[in-house]
């Protein structure tokens, strides 16, 4: 049984146990595997800033850490909630980079969790005129976006 099948089966078991009717679809993207949960009852996972989705994501990453290794990324989405959030975050990173460029003053973004920081760093890396770094030593860190010297 492939790892993706195992993970999909586990996610299905958890949502079934939670009593939420959702279908589980797998999508392979250039940025790893996305597991998309779809259905009208998805609100349970999405409310309060996607707290349930984030918890499920953490449980899956922890339970399958050894099999996944460092290079395989699994993202769990529900009714496109995460996708929209990611797009919003990339757009916000673009605005803040523009502000850093026009003012010449480094700009702060966050605090962000590791997943969000990765999205911001990847978005900023596409623009050769700016650079980003995380500061802090807690789980949530602030990202500083500044112009490259």
């Amino acid at each position: 049984m492939s790892l993706t099948t195992q993970i999909t089966g586990f996610v299905q078991n958890v949502v079934n146990a939670m009593g939420i009717a959702l279908t589980v679809n797998v999508e392979e993207t250039s940025d790893g595997t996305r597991i998309n949960l779809e259905g009208e009852e998805g609100g349970v996972l999405v409310r309060r800033g996607g707290e349930g989705l984030q918890a499920l994501q953490h449980i899956v990453a922890t339970a399958f850490r050894k099999q996944l290794g460092d290079d395989n990324r699994i993202v769990i989405d529900c009714n496109g909630f995460r996708k929209d959030k990611d797009a919003e975050l990339r757009q916000m990173a673009g605005f803040i980079a523009e502000k850093a460029r026009s003012s010449g003053i480094p700009q702060e973004m966050g605090p962000l969790n590791p997943y969000e920081r990765r999205i911001v760093h990847l978005a900023i890396a596409e623009d050769p005129s700016v650079t980003s770094e995380s500061i802090g030593d807690a789980f949530m860190k602030t990202v500083i976006i500044s112009t490259k010297k």
Binding site: F10, Q12, N13, V14, N16, A17, M18, G19, I20, V44, L45, E51, G52, Q54, A55, L56, H58, I59, T62, A63, F139
Partner: protein
């Protein structure tokens, strides 16, 4: 409804959430036990594992336990219950 994890447990959905998740996290899933008691109208679920497995449930800085509690709370809310999860070590 048949238990999706094949455990034969069809009773309490909230307990089942704890069992399904805990078994996936530990090295000895056969040792995962969840017992249910009632404390003044609140359902109390006590989770025990094999001795070396508790750290896996708790996680770094308690993050895995926090994620488990979040999913338990969402399930409890859905069923209109008050639930407390005791993680026993």
């Amino acid at each position: 409804m048949a238990a999706p994890d094949g455990s034969g447990n069809t009773g309490n959905p909230i307990k089942e959430v704890v069992e399904v998740i805990a078994r996936a996290l530990v090295d000895h899933p056969e040792s995962v036990r969840v017992t249910e008691t009632d404390r003044r109208g609140t359902m109390v679920l006590s989770l025990t594992t094999a001795p070396g497995d508790m750290g896996k449930i708790i996680g770094r800085q308690g993050r895995t336990a926090a994620a488990l509690r979040t999913l338990v709370a969402l399930t409890a809310e859905k069923y209109g219950k008050r639930v407390q999860l005791d993680i026993r070590d």
